[in-house]
């Protein structure tokens, strides 16, 4: 029997039928019919955030941690525009998300009505797709399409803008949720080209100095397991992008670490000297290539990605393979099963010797690039090492943007996909805390730590209130250097230490008191000797949010760092040494 539902009820029912369990949002005038429908049901839990930006970041963190599509509901106008930063963040990192925004009534659209914004127009450059709902009967089909588009192919955010009259309780229609969907203009590729895979494998096995380069696509495409098999089978050195950390175990011997702007010396050197690079699910953006004209001069590049636009966008690719990563890598494994030929073992050994020599020379774990912590001088690197030790490397780590993000990426060895949650593409300060909230909802059993700085955390600090309402036991690791560390580092290196607008000058809040004001626990750490014990204490409070305000050396820089306009072998490895 078909049920008669209003647009508002149909929307919530459609979400339920789509398998949505959790939405993050904030009510307002144009969304009130929707919120009334939420009130009258129990299937979907709604999390009330304190700012719409946080709703999108929380849904994003939830999506990254769980692999499901994140869902957001906001109202029109400022509700919608506040959500934009989070939508853009998800877009740049290809995170599946559906954002439902209320809109002024259809009859008022275009009249500059109260809280009217052209949400479809404003969001257009930062969405995978968007819909403006024009009649209530379309709601089930549009929701079905929105979730399908968000999660399939290269994932991304989808906006569904719904005028208020469409969700009115007074008009009802016969509801049914479509079981299947076919969009004639959208057919994501299902399989890689077999000929291209063969061609790639021949090159791959003929290589003498190969590198396997893993990006965030490996995580989004659930390809970690097959990639691990491929690496085991080939025995080649591995490097990860910032977004790919955890796709291949960080502690594995074959992992040279992260590449790029603040990548390891050994990874960047291996990239520059490689004769073959197998790129798996990455987009070769400017933070990973340095000057593209000087990029990996000897390398044949094989690029596997689900999105054809990433191929040859920044760097000319020799062998492109467009397809789902797990499927393509499986094809590569099949090739290896059927062919006995492997890479020349002597050449591979020479290459590994070279890579290991680079590791010994400037590897951050073999030869630290900073002075040791002592007394009131806490090195930020040591905070991350302590965090790794205290959490046994098993926490979900979210991060904000800046020096702390790079230290976390460098020093916390991520062994699992979806363990490292950060805004890599857009670089959104304020992402850390709300994404940690999403991570808690996605995985209640794993401790979640948000590595942040006193700059970033203040961009979404209001979410301490949300954490209080829903008892979210996030551990905030605030690397407090009393300055915008990364800005300051650039000002040190490129502007002769002119700290333009990067210092707070005694204006920082007492974060311990602030945390307490929201009903949480605050711990201040100023001495290195206390760090581990206090952190143990914090993580022992399993059901409490603990804000650890850790005063770190404000003069510390992140190294290695690629030299601007250089190749990948041109790096600062410490404040005084350059390659």
């Amino acid at each position: 029997m078909t049920e008669m539902l209003s647009g508002g009820d149909a929307l919530i029912r459609a979400l339920k039928d789509e398998g949505v369990e959790l939405v993050f949002g904030y009510p307002g005038g144009a969304a009130l019919h929707i919120y009334d429908a939420i009130f009258r049901q129990k299937d979907i839990e709604h999390i009330l955030v304190r700012h719409e930006q946080a709703a999108t970041h929380a849904a994003d963190g939830y999506a990254r941690t769980s692999g499901k599509v994140g869902t957001v509901i906001v109202t029109s106008g400022p509700g919608a525009t506040n959500a934009i930063t989070g939508i853009a963040t998800a877009y740049m990192d290809s995170i599946p998300m559906v954002v439902i925004s209320g809109q002024v009534p259809s009859s008022k659209i275009g009249e500059d009505a109260f809280q009217e914004t052209d949400m479809v127009g404003v969001s257009r450059p930062v969405v995978k797709h968007s819909f403006l709902v024009q009649c209530a009967e379309d709601i089930p089909m549009i929701i079905k399409k929105a979730y399908y588009i968000a999660r399939s192919g290269r994932p991304g955010p989808v906006v569904v803008d719904i005028p208020k009259d469409i969700t009115s309780p007074h008009e009802k229609f016969a509801y049914s949720y479509p079981e299947t969907i076919d969009i004639r203009s959208y057919q994501p590729v299902k399989k890689g080209h077999a000929g291209q895979i063969r061609k790639a494998m021949k090159q791959l096995l003929a290589a003498k100095r190969p590198v396997i380069y893993i990006g965030g696509g490996a995580i989004l495409g659930n390809a970690s397991e097959v990639i691990r098999k491929l690496v085991d089978e080939l025995g080649y050195p591995v490097t990860n992008t910032l977004m790919g950390l955890g796709a291949y175990p960080g502690t594995a011997e074959k992992n040279l670490g992260m590449l790029g702007m603040h990548g390891t010396y050994e990874s960047n050197m291996a990239m520059h000297h490689a004769d073959l690079i197998l790129v798996l699910g990455a987009r070769l953006d400017d933070r990973t290539t340095n000057d593209t004209k000087k990029y990996c001069p000897d390398a044949t590049i094989i690029h596997v990605d689900i999105d054809p636009t990433t191929i040859s966008k920044t760097v000319q690719i020799d062998i492109p393979i467009v397809g789902p990563l797990d499927e393509v890598v499986n094809g590569m494994l099949e090739y290896l099963e059927q062919n006995e030929k492997r890479a020349d073992p002597d050449a591979l050994k020479t290459w590994w010797d070279q890579c290991n020599q680079w590791r010994q020379q400037h590897g951050i774990f073999k030869r630290p690039n900073h002075a040791p912590s002592k007394g009131e001088l806490i090195k930020p690197q040591d905070v991350i090492k302590t965090l790794y030790k205290v959490t046994h490397g098993e926490a979900v780590i979210t991060s904000d943007v800046g020096q702390h993000q790079m230290f976390a990426a460098q020093y916390y060895h991520f062994d699992w996909p979806r363990q490292w949650i950060n805004s890599g593409g857009l670089g959104t300060m304020g992402f850390g805390l709300p994404s940690a909230m999403g991570a808690v909802f996605a995985d209640r059993d794993t401790p979640v730590a948000c590595v942040t700085g006193e700059g970033s955390i203040q961009m979404c600090i209001q979410e301490l209130s949300t954490c209080s309402q829903y008892h979210l036991p996030v551990k905030i690791i605030n690397l407090n250097n009393q300055a915008l560390g990364m800005v300051k580092q650039w000002q040190d290196m490129n502007y002769e230490g002119r700290y333009s607008q990067s210092l707070y000058e005694e204006s920082l809040p007492d974060f311990v008191k602030l945390a307490e004001a929201y009903g949480h626990v605050g711990i201040k750490v100023t001495r290195y000797e206390d760090l581990e014990e206090k952190m143990e204490e914090a993580f022992a409070m399993k059901d409490r949010l603990v804000f650890m305000d850790i005063y770190v050396d404000p003069t510390e820089h992140v190294y290695p760092m690629l030299v601007p306009e250089g190749s990948m072998r041109d790096m600062w490895v410490s404040k005084t040494e350059r390659t």
Partner: protein
């Protein structure tokens, strides 16, 4: 930098064209001319877009267009043999002796006079863009009051067609 004529078949839906145009401004590509109308299948619109770019950018443009959800198919028709046409309405000053001169010039270019006033002629011409440019040049001293051009539309010269 080469001239490119890109044919796009897309859903005839509100907002679809703005996604195409938005893509060009967002990624820093130029649009020289743009022509859009529904096809014989009213659920589809056909866009012909002319741009100037190098080969790498042309490849990115077609791939980025294909990625838009509303876009069904994309073809760079300048990659093969093709026909391109553009229509122009041009209003020129025509008094006394100028009237025969304009008429003669229009005849040479196979134009038609579609509106006549005591001091002006409005002409209609079609052809490829260079022919229309050539006509304006050939008018010499005659003063042009107004020019309206449709932008290029084009079709590939083979049985292969841009359809569902």
């Amino acid at each position: 930098m080469k001239k490119r004529i890109i044919s796009i078949l897309m859903e005839n839906e509100p907002g679809a064209l703005s996604r195409v145009v938005g893509l060009f401004s967002q990624r820093g590509y130029n649009i020289d001319s743009l022509n859009v109308a529904p096809t014989h299948d009213l659920s589809l619109s056909r866009v012909t877009l002319m741009t100037h770019c190098d080969d790498l950018v042309a490849e990115q443009i077609t791939k980025q267009l294909n990625k838009l959800i509303d876009v069904v198919k994309v073809l760079d028709i300048t990659e093969g043999r093709h026909i391109e046409r553009e229509m122009m309405l041009i209003k020129v000053k025509a008094k006394g002796e100028q009237r025969t001169e304009v008429k003669r010039c229009s005849d040479i270019f196979r134009g038609q006079i579609v509106d006549v006033g005591p001091t002006y002629y409005t002409l209609m011409l079609d052809g490829d863009s260079t022919k229309l440019d050539g006509f304006i040049e050939a008018l010499g001293d005659i003063s042009v009051l107004e020019v309206v051009r449709t932008g290029v539309c084009g079709i590939a010269k083979s049985e292969k067609s841009l359809s569902l």
